[in-house]
Point group: C2
Chain length 342, copies 2
DNA sequence: GCCTCGAGGTTTTACGTATAACGTCGGCAT
DNA sequence: ATGCCGACGTTATACGTAAAACCTCGAGGC
């Protein structure tokens, strides 16, 4: 009755292929593993390949992993996939992985900062290596302890212990933002920073602080906010509502906060960029969805994932893994302008 | 010299635990597999558990999979993770999976519609089941052929062949949009539809068409666009530039297109919502990031993932898998208003 | 006194693969 | 003729786990 009652056609094994091709299982393994040169005749090899194709043979990955002790699977640890930046990192990593018959499994941490508990406790842990984005120091400990090859993304270069590292020149990006705003004449600047305490955000803060310090008469106020639009807006509103002369520019740690900041500005009855300039960071799709479009720093997210995965593959293959530094670039759009003539 | 030269501490196996606890490997397996009732004394069981913990024993998943023929891994097929909706679906699915010691591996299709080739060709194929979102019919074929339990998300209920289905009441959502706009007095409506030809979008089109048809004097024009802000804006601009009386409302297939439509309206020197109302679909973060905030239909994306995974687990456990229908709700925000008094 | 039975284990096997170790059989130099 | 070698395979084994099948021993029934 129920058509779901399949007789369960058992997948063919290498032994089935061997039988069908009239050779031993070992020969099948050699041929399909491309290790047959000088051990099997070309004719036999071709015959084996043919029957394997005919039978629709697919190697059992569990068996292969058991035998080899390697799983061809990498763990990517990211704060949250709903953040487009990390979705793009994943996309890049997965693309490179696929080229090398590798899999990528994700560990998105619930709180958005790092794995709450041991990521391997979740026991999907059949891993060859780990790629981890910048995260809280304590969360890092668990990853280190697993003594798996570790590639860090966008994290402190001073922090050794990773087999490789792929970094974005975040400091340079923030310096470009600062130069842009200071060049336009802005002197009262607010830094709407991420409340998350990771290297990538610390670098933004430092670079901005130093750039502002170099300009006489320029002042910087830093406030922290969780990384969502509403929180960004609320924190920005608080700043704008406080006494004293309002800022003429709000530098945000990412585009999401910038979107919030723009809303805060308009709620005060002011305009972006005429009254207050706002800058973002990341260049997400959001940056060109809002109006005005955000002046922001473009981060090559996919490339981060690609390079990270390539570095991991290098490490796994015993090749020397280069540390990468990726350039970032300011994209000037409509959310910045000279400050209002005082 | 290189500290990377670890002596490779071999992970303890169940046999190591057995030796340390003074029992046989089988006993360890029974105890840790929680199948020891009446076969092993409580004292022994406790001792085994203790030594396993002490040694830091973790079962080798490859070996377990090989033995059991099951991998505790599901494939989630989604168009693109950079679309927040699917990132949220993943998040929900992964959360439920983790509760059951299951893993989720992703297959994001490059073109955004469906797997370009056989998703199993990429050979990560150690899968117990598949959860697939609405996609092009031809791409579906590959999934069916794999005779793995298949759970479909947001797809045609008439299309049998899935072991379970989790659907959103998309039609109802679109009816709510239509009722809202028609109730406000809109009569010239443009449907900015997705160019992707899948069930979920077909339903939107049909529901809107039928709702408009029921109102005398109401007219509907449908145009298709790729799912990104720029494309949405461009298509909307074309529509607005064409001759004839302009629409008073633009109904979009998702929030991304709606953001584009809003920009198109303003480029024509018109205002949202005073001159033209715009509605979205999905209720992404984007919907409250743009200004005005979008009137849209909230889709419980995480729930889709959760229910989908639960359904798959049910099927795998031989339990009857219920088909789910999730309600959606209109969220009225600032992008809709009565049409301008003609 | 013998049989049964259950509690509490142990021995053994199979899962499918990769590969080390081992034939076998001509041909060719010595 | 003998030894050796290369070409072409095969046989055997191990990876770590789950679980079926099998042992052993003491208590209890008759």
């Amino acid at each position: 009755m129920s058509s779901a009652q399949q007789p369960a056609p058992p997948r063919p094994t290498s032994r089935d292929v061997a039988r069908a091709a009239g050779v031993s299982q070992a020969t099948v393994s050699l041929v399909l593993g491309d290790k047959w040169r000088g051990r099997v005749s070309a004719a036999t090899a071709e015959r084996v390949r043919g029957t394997a194709r005919d039978l629709g043979y697919r190697p059992n990955l569990a068996a292969r992993s058991l035998r080899l002790g390697r799983t061809r699977t990498a763990l990517l640890v990211v704060p949250a996939l709903t953040n487009e930046f990390f979705a793009r990192v994943y996309t890049g990593a997965a693309a490179v992985a696929a080229e090398h018959d590798f899999g990528v499994v994700l560990y998105p941490s619930p709180d958005g900062t790092g794995p709450a508990r041991d990521p391997f406790a979740s026991a999907r842990a059949a891993l060859d290596g780990v790629i981890a984005s910048s995260m809280a120091a304590d969360a890092l400990g668990a990853l280190r302890g697993a003594d798996l090859p570790l590639v860090m993304l966008d994290s402190d270069p001073e922090d050794h212990g990773a087999a490789a590292r792929v970094n974005l020149d975040i400091a340079d990006g923030m310096r470009q933002v600062a130069a842009h705003l200071l060049g336009l004449g802005h002197r009262r600047i607010v830094h709407l920073a991420s409340a998350v305490d990771t290297w990538t955000f610390a670098v933004r803060a430092r670079a901005l602080r130093e750039a502002v310090r170099d300009v006489p008469g320029a002042a910087l106020l830093t406030v922290a906010s969780p990384l969502d639009v509403r929180a960004g807006r609320e924190v920005a509103e608080t700043v704008l509502a406080s006494s004293g002369p309002p800022p003429t520019a709000i530098v945000c740690d990412d585009d999401i906060l910038a979107a919030g900041a723009c809303k805060a500005v308009r709620r005060r009855g002011l305009r972006v960029p005429e009254d207050i300039s706002v800058t973002g960071f990341d260049d997400l799709a959001l940056a060109t969805a809002v109006e005005p479009e955000l002046t922001t720093v473009r981060l090559p997210a996919e490339q981060v994932g690609e390079r990270g995965m390539r570095a991991l593959l290098d490490v796994l293959a015993g090749r020397p893994a280069a540390h990468h530094d990726l350039a970032v670039g300011l994209v000037v759009r409509g959310s910045t302008a000279p400050p209002p003539a005082a």
